[in-house]
Symmetry: C2
Subunit: 600 residues, 2 copies
């Protein structure tokens, strides 16, 4: 980049920021809104809205600022590295502060006006994380007869929290989501207990089918604070990620209650706290946290369809979540119902073990080859090359977050068109084998499917070739019933089976709230996940952010946390700051609390 290319961009951004700052300082929402294009998007994570919110166009900006400006008092807008212009869009990395915190963000200008703006609250003044310059000393210098060692303090905390003292936050679910959030909260000095049913951190991975590896690559998967080392595999085997989570929980000093089951929870409005009953080491314990986070996962509640004859079937049948791996099924005949990730992984492993396998495809599936997804879909942001080019995980996360959901599919469609072309032979072979393919309702591919519905795809690491060449048999259609020794399809086809695996996905996330709290609260909160894109399994109206995730819900003091490792890492910071602000009594006026349009 030469000097002459940089300078106009710098000037353009500085002029915009200075006019923006002036309008905001004057409390002039209308003037600030005029700095945005008609088709523009301001995505705010907590800084202005105490919510995750994307407002659109000048009218959206003005409405949000009318609500937020007086108490937010944003100021000190500045660039943190030289802006650059490419193809008519000028990009800038920015910082600012508000009355209560410091923020950062990302700005794209077109023709001198804002096209996209991302603003995030990154820390609360006076409540900074205990990291970097704020890290603890460890050794307390000087002489102190009351001195307690680090170990004594840790042991005392572990003994007292939940018994003699109450946590501020209880997180139900100790997978990567709950663990990462608890680590964030610890650096913010928010007393937190993570409640997890399994014996050891990482067991939610260890207990899945033995061949499972992460489908996302290592650069996308880092936990907060401790990155995977440079010898970490690209696709982490499940037991290895399990070990990592276990060590992470230990060295991050989390209060992690394993072998503990959350039995019930109710919100005591009068006291402004939850009453959470858990069973730990055989004893019932009542916790009274101010905030309750459900981090039980998108893949937490297995959904098994009710099919006539399940009671007469004499073979083995289980949900994919309970599938132990293929080793025991050599020489057996297996039917796997479903055609997404788990089904493909399980079918391939069964075939490798020497079973006769049929996959039942009930509806079309989006397939993308892992290599292509890495190269075309993720490579620019999350790859060895991206890291070498200075795109750190933090930077990649911000770039990702800066793309408004409303137009994200427009960026995705060309990538998937490229993959379709690149892998045309592959897709032809699959279709010739009778496999029903899709690329999403609008051909926007995997990531949009994930954001909209969290299902409907397979990242191919080898099973598709087995489907294409008939090694894994394919049966399209709906299962009508089970018999003693097989599966009967609606068209009358009979499939003999020693084993039936239901790779049929998971129930709605607010089902967790129904189970733990009440159906009333689940209904009050409504559907969790999805953008309101009005595509299959993501009904409208448009919400513009993931429903109910990482942000306030219609149930006071109830939060949902989760998503893939990338989302858990990035959004846990903003959820942690929302929880911290409430624990410190900081005023948190929420703008645009979402409406409930769907119960599940």
């Amino acid at each position: 980049m030469t000097d002459t290319a940089v300078e106009p961009a710098t000037t353009e951004v500085e002029q915009w920021l200075s006019r923006f700052e002036e309008a905001l300082a004057a409390g002039d929402s209308a003037a600030a809104a005029e700095l945005f294009l008609d088709d523009s998007y301001w995505r705010d994570l907590v800084a202005f809205t105490w919510n995750f919110k994307t407002v659109e166009g000048p009218a959206g900006v003005k409405d949000m600022l009318d609500h937020a400006l007086a108490h937010t008092r944003p100021r000190g807008w500045a660039t943190i590295e030289p802006p650059a212009t490419a193809e008519g869009v000028t990009e800038a990395w920015i910082a600012f502060e508000t009355e209560i915190g410091r923020g950062a963000g990302h700005l794209r200008l077109k023709d001198g006006k804002a096209w996209t703006l991302l603003t995030t609250l990154d820390e609360l003044k006076g409540h900074e994380q205990t990291t970097g310059p704020g890290r603890p000393m460890g050794a307390e210098h000087g002489a102190n007869p009351e001195r307690q060692t680090w170990l004594e303090q840790r042991e005392r905390e572990a003994k007292e929290l939940g018994y003699e003292t109450q946590p501020e936050v209880v997180i139900v679910g100790g997978g990567q989501g709950g663990i990462g959030l608890a680590a964030r909260l610890r650096q913010l000095r928010v007393p937190t207990i993570v409640v997890e049913r399994n014996e050891r951190p990482g067991d939610s991975w260890r207990k899945r089918y033995k061949g499972l590896c992460l489908h996302d690559p290592v650069w996308y998967d880092h936990m907060p604070y401790i990155k995977f080392p440079e010898n970490w595999p690209v696709f982490s085997p499940k037991d290895k990620i399990g070990d990592w989570l276990e060590m992470y929980t230990r060295v991050m000093e989390l209060n992690y209650w394993s072998s503990t089951e959350a039995k019930s929870a109710r919100y005591d409005e009068a006291a402004g706290e939850w009453v959470v009953v858990v069973e730990r080491e055989g004893a019932e314990i009542t916790l009274r946290p101010k905030q309750l986070v459900l981090a039980t996962g998108m893949s937490g509640r297995p959904y098994t369809p009710e099919i006539p004859g399940q009671d007469v079937f004499k073979g083995e049948q289980h949900h994919s979540a309970q599938h132990p791996g293929a080793d025991a099924y050599a020489g057996k005949t297996a039917v796997v119902i479903g055609s997404n990730n788990s089904s493909h992984d399980i079918c391939a492993a069964l075939w490798e073990a020497g079973a006769d396998v049929t996959m039942v495809q009930r509806s079309s599936t989006h397939i993308v080859r892992s290599d292509s997804l890495m190269d075309v879909g993720l490579g620019a942001l999350y790859s060895e090359e991206a890291v070498a080019a200075g795109v750190t995980t933090e930077k990649a996360d911000t770039i990702f977050a800066s793309l408004p959901y409303r137009i994200m599919h427009e960026f995705q469609i060309p990538l998937y068109n490229e993959m379709r072309e690149r892998d045309a032979d592959f897709y032809d072979r699959l279709e010739q084998a009778g496999f029903e393919l899709d690329f999403g309702d609008d051909d926007s591919g995997l990531f949009m499917k994930y954001l909209r519905r969290g299902s409907g795809y397979y990242i191919d690491v080898g099973a598709s070739d087995l489907v294409a060449d008939g090694s894994i048999k394919l049966q399209r259609g709906i299962v009508e019933r089970l018999t003693e020794h097989g599966v009967v399809m609606e068209d009358g086809t009979e499939l003999p089976a020693d084993l039936v695996v239901y790779a049929t996905g998971y129930g709605p996330m607010n089902g967790w709230a129904a189970e733990l709290i009440s159906q009333d609260v689940a209904d009050k909160v409504g559907k969790v996940w999805g953008l309101g894109s009005d595509t299959r399994k993501d009904p409208g109206p448009w919400e513009g952010e993931q429903r109910n995730m990482w942000k306030p819900t219609r149930q006071e003091a109830l939060w949902f946390h989760g998503g893939n490792l990338h989302q858990s890492r990035y959004y846990s910071l903003y959820l942690a700051l929302q929880l911290k602000a409430r624990s410190e009594g900081i005023d948190t006026p929420v703008y645009g609390l979402q409406e409930v349009h769907h119960l599940s």
Copy 2:
């Protein structure tokens, strides 16, 4: 830094490198040597010498090149960032390659000639580490009926190595040194077993007195591959570092045999392998590695002086290494013999617990306040500020390594003079309390004492104030004998005692070889540690590198590894590459194998 300041430095370095390359390519050692100042130092770690060696002046350079040039074939000398000149010295970061590997280094020019040159071998061609672009895939794509999962492979390796297959390397001692080296060897695919007496990795820290914290700060202490996270304490509490080492051992997939004792070892010359007998889980197992590394630590073998009356003393007596902490000694009278780090820590903890404590100072001690050491001694290389200024741990390590030991004290003396001035009141108060201070034989302070003799100092974190104000009583002189209830000094002073702690240090490191192998081998190897500076406890002649550490010894296939966390981290790479080269049958002609001048 402006363009005009950079360019002459770049030209100077490029001209020097090009003349150097030309001379080396022509095999002209004399011409290459002429590019060095009369008082110059070329420190080579493995790249040219298959040794750790500092040669001095043109004659030293020529002699080394006469030996090494033909088989090393160095080439491709280049700078890896723009050089800079300050105070008449031009500094450059460089890279090069040799016949068998790739190297890096650091160059300082004065008046166009080399003043200091550091060259290091960083990787072997064709045997690169499995990191970054070489990391494993984790998931094996495609279909493979012989597929083994990561867990199955790990379990199989752990079951077979040492039983059905033999390791290339056995490391005796599983503290941070052995663990870090084993991690390096694993990335180089060298089958290795670490043998450790304790139950769990980290126990060598956990089992020490309960108030112990590292005296070196976090930025100095990182392990290879996984840095401490940004929330890690500046001075790591012993149990926390223990937990870190335990998780590190696990996630780095080391073959770590805990609760295992190395009973004996002998070198089978004919077979070219060691016969190492260990006891594991109650069974004797014979290992036959090609290489044996002793990583049992500088602080591994407690030294307790024999004092008349130890058999009649009715109180409790133990070495500082066995001291459990102060809790049990409230109201008791304690005598702690010695006045270095452990003694000060233990005396302060006993005083805090309410014991009556006397410290016996037998000889002068170097004291430096922790804050001053951090600010003045380490701050430029290892601190939050250094990291913020772009001095990564890797860069700091290289700068540190680039200073030749011969002149290192010249850089250290002014720092310690500054600390003496800064803390003049503090030192006055200590002397007025009768404490005998020193700053090393040549006033070069703590780090030189550490390199020369590994003892003789205390980094003050509070105990010195207790000595100065008499809270910890001070007794100078030599203990003559113990009685039933106390300690009698040579001058007749009697000190009553319920507890005597021997903070009397550790025996010579080659004592480990005597114990495990034979006195003959210990004598053949000679003294371990020290530079030959001809100062107290570091007798000459000048060796110029730490004796016998991380490099070939006079006993074939026997190596010593250890030092503080910084040294273990940095030098473990070069030891690992020496071991890897031997395991691959690469020719490793050693230049300047050290002479043995002292047996211990």
